[in-house]
Symmetry: D2
Subunit: 251 residues, 4 copies
């Protein structure tokens, strides 16, 4: 079946600060959240690189991004340190077609907020309560391989209101023990790019080792990969009409 | 400000069987669920009539429907007794512009299923657990006058999966004590008509007397009312082109 | 990359009446529209069968449908002859996950109208005017391999208003020489199934031989194929709460 | 019917440069585009103020915005001169609930681009060709009082691709004589605010004097007005669970 689609090339970006500063976090993710996610994706056959905040250009130079089909993004305590030039570059690449998977506290990243056009604010509580994710789009590729719901045993709560535009497709809604709900799996299309926001994941709970969560990340990587052969969109002045038109007449 | 919009004319339809057969239900709604809803809407200035299953034509004759701007629908145990001719009539009126507010167990009514094109099936449990409704569309007219969430102290649980098309606008998501979530306030546009499905309401709990629930019903009545002066849509054969066109040429 | 996805199994259904009654149509599609579409899909590596109205059970027996991942549907003059038992069967399979691609005059088929919940009516004119299809969802898999627009040199016009629910994703909008526009490529999700309506195609113009149209049909076949391993959705009574809940307390 | 809704307070903002520099534009709009729009809205009972680029704070001080229910925006040649502090203020007010109606070349304004999160780029041609606007959401309040389509006799063409997120509601699609289509009436919800983009309008054609265009602007003013009594959304840390929860248990 043409076009033969090769495995999407993934770059997993992580702020990588909590893991180095906080022994409790390091105990859960000794090589960083990015490494845990990358290993999981590699085990499924994806070609995966990683990049982190403290590398030059945050590890997201022009060459890296132009060889990335889908970028994963985890950040939390240092959103403000991501330089605007890199945000601009990622933004442009998304509109050109690069997929973007924004994880958990990445809701407040510069790149997600710019693409959404809203504050992306929410409510939160960090007491390790239970979360249940319910599938509300049973036909969606990102729900592939999952049942009607799955449980994250201990999670930071994120609750509505969540200040995002209405998602183009809403895949998961979360239930929390303490009384909240949250739109926790949400798809957005911007330009030629596909964006998936996925709520689960925290630095102190081993959520990215959980099978259902890894399944979602793999599904998202496939879903967000660009279509291989669309030309760049043609904007701008188009002086010649496409059709030979008559002089205007009354309707 | 023109056009001056008079109060929408409401008809509240109720199956009205539980209340007559079950003393426990009669104790909660002695004059029927329809009467409780109608009184609440009247108190807000709406012109309200009621209609029930056992009236001739289920109380929904041509004359009634043509004088109805918004129809409320509550049914449960006798969906199958609603004759198809009446369903056809309501269906045609909705596509022409009459608003429709479908309540609770009305999710399985013939009219809602026909308009949705899906089974409208769901999961349920009737143990009187607590429900919290969260606003996920803070700008929506149906959320007017409400805070970020409100509580229904005792409710029948309806849980996802809920087999509906993705709503055109999702206004409320419910949390249930037993672990489920539900898209409990959902807007759909069909033809010139607006449809609102609202989950809360049960025959054995006094939910339709609750202030927040009454507020939602009033908001929904206003939202679902038709625009006063749109002509009927023009379908069919249009033999003459609207524009003088040239003979086809290569693009 | 797991899960390895084999080529979707396609069944192309055609009413196959025009081609047998009208020499002008037979000249364009000597073996029927279904054969032309099937050959195009086979050339791209899909496994394709065909079925037509006058076969027993319209060629859509239980065994055929259960071995079909995506069903294509072309009908026009004999929508009323499709028996309800077959419509019911196709309907059930779509909600279970089978993809459905509805072509051109299939907008008035029983199956499409049932899934949409609306009349699916439109305006039309058959003077062989030019159509231009514009991509309005540049990221969508169904736009893969296409530029910003393409031309169908001679087409029957279908014009707005088109009485469908707002599509879950709108991919193409058509321009017609005579002054109309039309939502000509529209995606709908219903249950676990994906539905694509595609406007182009007529019995007297050789539209299904056109490269861009064939490209869209191939894209649609891939897009509409079900996710391979989702369990059947679990509806119904769920007597036990999923969570150990406390007795209701004041909020 | 409570709550009695008073007429929305409108502010019409205009760059007001073309009219002062170009005699041809001045001939069409001698007192500026803002004045023409304001007079039309006043005639319909709205309370209307105007503001322009060259006033202090562009006429959009804190006091003006806090007394504005719906802001109209027309800009073209001087988008870059709008200072960021004012853009920030308008942005915050929209998320709090102020409606925003963005007109024609305002698609490239800083405020619209920030709220959309995309480039808002498009194709264009300025040869005075005919435009037909088709209603594709017949139930929508912004289509009130209009037929299935209407004609703008001479217009600048704006064509797809139009780089916006998929609208929350698409109301109008335009046909152009030269072969293009455009999503010319599009609704977006952001925070508590409602946004309407409306394509027609140009400095050299008398489009804002046309009855159907004025009807749309009035409809939009009513639609975009905020709900009168929603509290500010509550984001942030919520340390106490809303529910008394048990210790986590296996699911």
């Amino acid at each position: 079946m043409a076009p033969p689609q090769s495995a999407p090339r993934i770059t997993v970006w992580n702020e990588f600060r909590h893991e180095q500063k906080n022994p409790k976090v390091k105990a859960v993710y000794p090589d960083g959240i990015h490494t845990a996610i990358a290993e999981s994706l590699r085990a499924d056959g994806f070609e995966v690189k990683t990049a982190t905040l403290d590398e030059p250009e945050h590890g997201l130079g022009e060459d890296v991004l132009s060889a990335t089909d889908v970028l994963f993004w985890w950040g939390h305590m240092a959103h403000g340190e991501v330089v605007d030039a890199v945000v601009d570059r990622v933004y442009a690449r998304v509109l050109e077609g690069m997929g973007l998977v924004v994880l958990h506290s990445g809701h407040f990243s510069k790149i997600f907020r710019r693409l959404m056009g809203t504050t992306c604010d929410l409510s939160w509580r960090d007491t390790g309560e239970r979360e249940r994710l319910w599938v509300v789009a049973p036909q969606h590729p990102i729900a592939e391989g999952l049942g009607d719901s799955f449980v994250v045993p201990q999670a930071e709560m994120y609750g509505e209101p969540f200040d995002i535009p209405a998602p183009d497709e809403l895949v998961f809604v979360s239930w929390f023990q303490g009384g909240e709900v949250f739109r926790s799996g949400a798809c957005f299309n911007r330009g030629q790019g596909k964006i998936f926001y996925f709520r689960p994941g925290h630095e102190t709970f081993p959520i990215y080792y959980q099978a259902e969560v890894q399944q979602v990340l793999k599904n998202a990587a496939r879903w967000a990969a660009p279509t291989p052969s669309r030309p760049k969109t043609g904007f701008g002045h188009r002086p010649q009409p496409l059709e030979s038109i008559l002089a205007p007449e009354p309707a």
